[in-house]
């Protein structure tokens, strides 16, 4: 898919191959558990979860022009929200997790966003980072509520009221039923996000990103629109956090710590934040890359750092930006 600006110029002829590619991709994702190992399927589930979070981050970064270094807090708050549903309400329904988690992400994003959108550029980024660390320190210090560094266990949840049953074997559950659950939620989130960025509201965010003064002078209430985008972004990140909790089995303070916010930014930039699909591709690619690096060397952070630096230097528009450029060149030559 193309850049947010170029999206508006998508032609009918361009939509046919795009729809065919999407259908092929959807078919591949559906058959994936039958052709790949359980490990690979679970790994892809992680990738899809991160893709939701990266899409959410990109609503702010790519479409509104605000770089958040604090999205770990909405992801983590939602994971803890799911864990609290188990710990305090003794409910193991995935839908209850989603309700609790999304509400946590939404409420915190509404409060933090109200403060953060008063600023832009580096001031916005620093503020998001600082506020997210409040969440991390609370998770560490309020150990009688949060379990401290041990975190809170998140057991295998019941999906859709148990109509499809819940296998005893956790790996079987995660690699099949849960994979499809994650895939379905991902698909819904992607469609919703697509509609948001193509709506009048989404267009107004792009207008604010490009020219704040002009946006204001056509009557767009800039701060309010930024806040709304922030809340939506936090809410979608919360959905990702909830889906992540059963995969990980634990909600721990690590997921609220700033390096995880950095990882979300890396995924988004790596895939290309000027496109709708870039953060999705970046999140899945980063997840595979990280798993590969962790399994190969104890210096995996160094390896990831080098790969990221090389990618930024060689592909400044990210993977999807490079792909779009290559595609345009091939069409011109063809």
């Amino acid at each position: 898919m193309s850049t947010p600006a170029i999206d508006a110029r998508a032609t009918a002829s361009g939509r046919v191959p795009a729809a065919a590619s999407l259908a092929l991709l959807a078919a591949l994702l559906v058959v994936f558990p039958y052709v790949a190992s359980s490990y690979q399927t679970i790994l892809l589930s992680y990738g899809l979860v991160m893709a939701i979070a990266a899409m959410a981050l990109n609503l702010l970064l790519g479409y509104t022009g605000l770089l958040s270094f604090g999205h770990s807090v909405y992801f983590g708050a939602a994971a803890y929200g799911a864990a609290f549903v188990v710990k305090y309400l003794h409910v193991v329904s995935m839908e209850a997790f989603l309700a609790g988690g999304v509400l946590s992400g939404l409420v915190i994003a509404a409060a933090f966003g109200f403060i953060c959108v008063r600023y832009t550029k580096i001031f916005f980024s620093i503020l998001t980072l600082a506020l997210s660390q409040v969440g991390w320190s609370l998770a560490l210090k309020l150990f009688w509520v949060t379990g401290g560094t041990d975190g809170i266990r998140v057991p295998t949840p019941v999906l859709l009221g148990g109509v499809f049953g819940t296998p005893q074997d956790k790996v079987v559950f995660l690699a099949h039923r849960y994979y499809y659950y994650v895939l379905a939620v991902f698909a819904v989130c992607a469609v919703l996000m697509w509609r948001i960025v193509q709506s009048p509201f989404g267009k107004s965010l792009q207008a604010i990103r490009d020219n704040e003064v002009r946006a204001e002078s056509i009557g767009i209430r800039v701060r309010r629109a930024r806040w709304f985008a922030f809340v939506l972004s936090g809410m979608f990140t919360g959905i990702a956090g909830v889906l992540w909790a059963p995969l990980n089995g634990l909600a721990t303070p690590d997921v609220l710590y700033w390096p995880f916010s950095g990882e979300l930014v890396v995924m988004t930039v790596m895939g290309g934040f000027h496109s709708f699909s870039g953060p999705i591709v970046g999140a899945v690619a980063f997840n595979y890359l990280k798993s590969y690096a962790v399994g190969r060397t104890e210096y995996w952070q160094l390896l990831l750092g080098v790969v990221f630096v090389v990618l930024v230097l060689v592909l400044p528009d990210g993977i999807m930006g490079a792909w779009a450029r290559l595609h345009r060149r091939m069409r011109k030559e063809g």
């Binding site: 509609r195 709506s199 509201f201 020219n211 003064v213 002009r214 002078s217 056509i218 009557g219 767009i220």
Partner: protein, 253 residues
């Protein structure tokens, strides 16, 4: 009853009095030029009227409503729109989207989250109509950054016009374009303003343009209104002649 009446407007930046006690009225369906040397306070006055700057003192009444403390979006709702001295567009968006956004904003559709912008046929038709009025019909799918300077100036005015204001303030709509192109731009602007029955305030340096298109001229100097009147009255005004110095006021020079 004037469409807009500003009384005792003052605005200072540090020790500099940019606007110093200006009284200013705009009648309905009039094209008024605001002239004066650089630093005379023209753009600051425009910013005060459109709400981009709050006045230190004074009052602005528009269409019977006190708008002095209204924010920018409030004044747009009241019917005041503007273009900018330095072209101010959404460069990454297409010509169509630039105008369509103004229509969405005007119609309170800007907060629609789940409706695809492209599916709003009424907004698209209206946007295409506005683009056509400004002679940009064949450029609808071009990003604003891909337009020539004269076209960018026209689009800037078109975006303001799409808000369907009662008063449009155009800050140097012909700056940075060639002499021939200036008349082309002003002919279109005048046609749209007169046919739309709105009032326009045009900040302009080119006196040929000012005398040709204005119903009234307001000359500012050091933050104050130096002279005001029809083009004929302004040509004969001794203070204006002194301001223009050796330049022939009939030619503007």
């Amino acid at each position: 009853m004037p469409l807009l009446a500003a009384q005792g407007l003052r605005k200072s930046f540090g020790d500099t009095r940019a606007v110093d006690g200006v009284d200013f009225a705009i009648e309905p369906q009039r094209l008024i030029s605001l002239v004066g040397s650089n630093g005379a306070g023209k753009t600051t006055l425009v910013n005060l009227i459109t709400g981009l700057l709050p006045p230190d003192e004074g009052r602005i009444v528009f269409d019977g409503q006190d708008v002095t403390r209204l924010p920018v979006y409030g004044r747009i709702k009241a019917g005041i729109a503007r273009s900018f001295q330095l072209v101010n567009l959404f460069d990454a968006l297409t010509v169509l989207d630039n105008v369509r956004l103004a229509i969405f904003s005007r119609d309170n559709k800007i907060n629609q989250v789940m409706r695809l912008a492209e599916r709003d046929r009424a907004a698209e038709e209206e946007a295409r109509g506005v683009i056509g009025e400004f002679g940009l019909a064949d450029k609808w799918s071009v990003p604003a950054s891909g337009l020539a300077q004269g076209e960018r100036k026209l689009l800037d005015v078109a975006v303001a016009y799409a808000l369907r204001p009662k008063l449009i303030l155009l800050d140097e709509p012909t700056s940075g374009v060639g002499t021939r192109e200036k008349s082309g731009i002003m002919d279109r602007v005048e046609a749209v303003v007169r046919s739309g029955g709105l009032s326009a305030v045009i900040v302009e340096h080119d006196m040929d343009i000012v005398f040709k298109y204005s119903d009234r001229i307001v000359m500012m100097h050091e933050g104050r209104v130096l002279a005001e009147g029809t083009p004929q009255e302004i040509i004969r005004d001794a203070r204006v002649a002194a301001m223009l110095g050796r330049r022939d006021p009939e030619r503007g020079g």
